[in-house]
């Protein structure tokens, strides 16, 4: 694969310089290759992050550029940590995280286990199952509001068909009790295949000889499952939990389109609340502190978790 632009560049470069360029030491090449990536990440990730941290100690508001910016110290942080509404959104996020992980692991592992029975055509079905995972959560989430319509929605119709309830009698996204579950259902539908694929890789990594040995020792299938299969798949499962945990902690697009945080604030997850504070109420300083708290939480939890994961792997 030759890059025409590079070719033109080479031709335009004087021979002396070209020789110097090509004869560069490995160390210089390494730096030339890594520098643009690091530079871009510093400019678009780290610089904004530092800016966010700086803003978090001020009372700055984007919509009032002429107002004097005051240094308020830790006031934003203490206000956030003592705000009952913020804790309510944290609770919503925790509820969402727990149940999505629970269902995705349960169904994902079960599917992987079934697919690993190596029946004919399992490749085809696997490909169909993974489709939802790769699609745009915003576009799909928006369409799910249509499936969730009382009476005319396909979801309500299916539930009515199975349970015999009146399809117009419940609204998944307008009911305070059902709305959190509306999110969990769609997220589980989208992301179960992710857990399934990772579990499948785990199951396939177990050497058959272990089971043959267990068979010789007359271990029951049940025993084999709990003492061989589960421990061998555990590192893979934990990895899936790490990825899904981080992603769902940041969850934004799907929920904005599905419920927008409503009804009331029942599905207000932290990311959506943050967007309201920063881009609707324009409390920039306050929202920045909130963002820092979220990032530190994700980063902290992920670091602790990775340590635990490494310990499991080493066993």
């Amino acid at each position: 694969m030759t890059n025409p632009a590079l070719g033109r560049l080479a031709k335009a470069t004087p021979p002396g310089l070209a020789h110097r360029l090509r004869g560069l030491s490995d160390r210089t090449i390494a730096w030339i290759f890594v520098a643009p990536t690091i530079f871009l990440l510093l400019a678009i990730n780290i610089f904004p992050l530092i800016w966010t941290i700086r803003l978090s100690f001020t009372n700055f508001r984007v919509n009032r550029p002429n107002e004097a910016v005051k240094w308020v110290g830790l006031q934003n942080y203490s206000r956030i940590l003592n705000d009952a509404d913020i804790w309510a959104t944290m609770t919503n996020t925790a509820h969402f995280l727990f149940w999505t992980l629970f269902f995705q692991i349960l169904i994902g592992f079960a599917l992987a286990w079934l697919i690993n029975r190596k029946f004919k055509g399992n490749d085809l079905w696997t490909t169909i199952i993974v489709l939802p995972m790769m699609l745009s959560p915003a576009v799909v989430g928006n369409f799910w509001t249509f499936l969730y319509q009382p009476q005319i929605g396909l979801f309500n119709y299916a539930v009515a068909f199975v349970t015999g309830a009146d399809p117009a009698s419940f609204s998944m996204i307008a009911d305070v009790r059902l709305a959190p579950w509306a999110l969990i259902i769609v997220d589980t539908w989208m992301w179960t295949p992710f857990v399934m694929l990772i579990c499948l890789a785990g199951l396939r990594s177990i050497p058959e000889s272990i089971y043959e040995a267990a068979e010789c020792d007359r271990a029951s299938p049940w025993r084999q499952f709990w003492t061989l299969t589960i421990p061998m798949v555990l590192p893979f499962l934990m990895l899936a939990v790490l990825f899904r945990g981080i992603e769902n902690f940041k969850m934004f697009d799907l929920v904005v389109q599905l419920t927008g945080g409503g009804p009331g604030d029942t599905t207000l997850l932290t990311s959506i609340n943050l967007k309201r504070e920063a881009f609707e109420k324009w409390r920039t300083g306050y929202a920045s502190a909130y963002a820092v708290i979220l990032f530190v939480t994700i980063y902290g939890l992920a670091s602790i978790y990775v340590k635990a994961l490494n310990r499991v792997k080493q066993r």
């Binding site: 694969m1 590079l6 360029l21 560069l24 490995d26 160390r27 090449i29 390494a30 290759f33 890594v34 643009p36 990536t37 690091i38 871009l40 990440l41 400019a43 678009i44 780290i46 904004p48 992050l49 803003l55 984007v62 079934l114 029975r117 190596k118 029946f119 004919k120 399992n122 079905w125 490909t127 169909i128 199952i129 993974v130 939802p132 995972m133 790769m134 699609l135 745009s136 959560p137 915003a138 576009v139 928006n142 369409f143 499936l147 009476q151 119709y157 539908w189 694929l197 990772i198 990825f243 981080i246 934004f252 904005v256 943050l274 920063a278 881009f279 929202a287 979220l294 990032f295 994700i298």
Partner: protein
């Protein structure tokens, strides 16, 4: 075939096959419904019970791509519809007055998607090669730093990026979105590509170097062709991410550079959402990704785990 204790019995296989097929059919149903709704009339789309058999129409697609106005019956009688699209909207006493914004939004998605994919794969390949082959000081720390940029909630960095872009004049521009998506995708492309390049034996390059190639030539003529499959699948993952991204798009773009995901949900018809048009837009937007997913199925696991799990 020799007897194996680990080979499931025929009955087990049947039961497993039926259960998995059942799940697959249920899980694909919403997607089938999107595609089907795109070919329904608005009244068919909200019929009760939901219509499985219906007369397909391109109304949704016509509504998606055009803007229309209602006319008086007299006007309609004087100006009979000319094209097939006009005939479709004439049923509602409407005429087509121009194209909708969907085409432009879709094109924005294409420009920003491909632009950022090219940049992130280009930069990612260089960085991944360096990390794979050279002694870079603090290599592990740098690699982890690159990965950690992915843990940031987009909204958390969106505030300063919003301010920064406003100052630099990059807000709501293609270039701004391309740079942003490139930065977000770099973590994925560096990690994935490092895995792919690690798998290419160093001996090939060493042989080339002995043959008098410079390091740069060895990289271009030996490593790049070997890594082509890896580069291609990394590119598709980057493209899918940029294609699907919503949070930055909805916060930082409003017109000029707005991509399709924030636009599609805002398609409104007469009296509420025009579901066939929304579904038509969603179909056009989702189908390319479905095709790519099928093409990528062997590398899927690797891509979604940043190279942590390889089959």
């Amino acid at each position: 075939m020799s007897y194996s204790v680990t080979e499931p019995s025929a009955r087990q296989k049947w039961i497993a096959g039926i259960l998995v097929a059942l799940y697959a059919v249920i899980t694909i149903l919403p997607l089938v419904w999107i595609i089907a709704t795109g070919f329904k009339t608005p009244s068919d789309s909200i019929a009760y019970p939901p219509k499985v058999v219906f007369q397909p129409t391109l109304e949704g697609y016509v509504n998606l791509f055009t803007t229309r106005t209602r006319q008086t019956p007299e006007y309609m009688a004087e100006h009979p519809p000319q094209t097939w699209a006009e005939r479709i909207v004439a049923k509602y006493d409407m005429t087509i007055v121009g194209p909708s914004r969907f085409g432009a939004r879709f094109l924005n998605s294409v420009i920003i998607g491909f632009g950022s994919t090219f940049l992130s794969v280009f930069l990612g390949t260089l960085a991944a090669y360096a990390f794979s082959r050279f002694k870079v000081p603090l290599k592990d720390d740098l690699m982890f730093f690159i990965l950690s940029t992915r843990m940031m909630p987009p909204i958390a960095v969106a505030i300063p990026i919003f301010l920064m872009y406003r100052t630099l004049g990059l807000s709501d521009t293609h270039l701004g979105m391309i740079l942003l998506y490139t930065a977000v995708n770099l973590s994925l492309s560096v990690w994935l590509l490092k895995g792919f390049i690690d798998e290419i034996p160093v001996e090939y390059e060493e042989a080339a170097l002995i043959d008098g190639y410079t390091r740069f030539q060895a990289f271009r003529k030996v490593v790049l062709p070997q890594a082509a499959t890896g580069i291609a699948s990394t590119a598709i993952f980057c493209l899918i991410f940029a294609w699907n991204e919503y949070a930055f798009a909805v916060l930082l773009t409003s017109g000029e550079a707005q991509t399709a995901p924030p636009f599609i949900p805002t398609i409104i018809g007469v009296g509420g959402q025009d579901w066939p048009a929304v579904a038509a837009g969603a179909t056009l937007f989702l189908l390319p990704v479905m095709v790519f997913t099928i093409l990528l199925r062997k590398h899927l696991l690797r891509g979604i785990t940043f190279g942590a799990v390889r089959k």
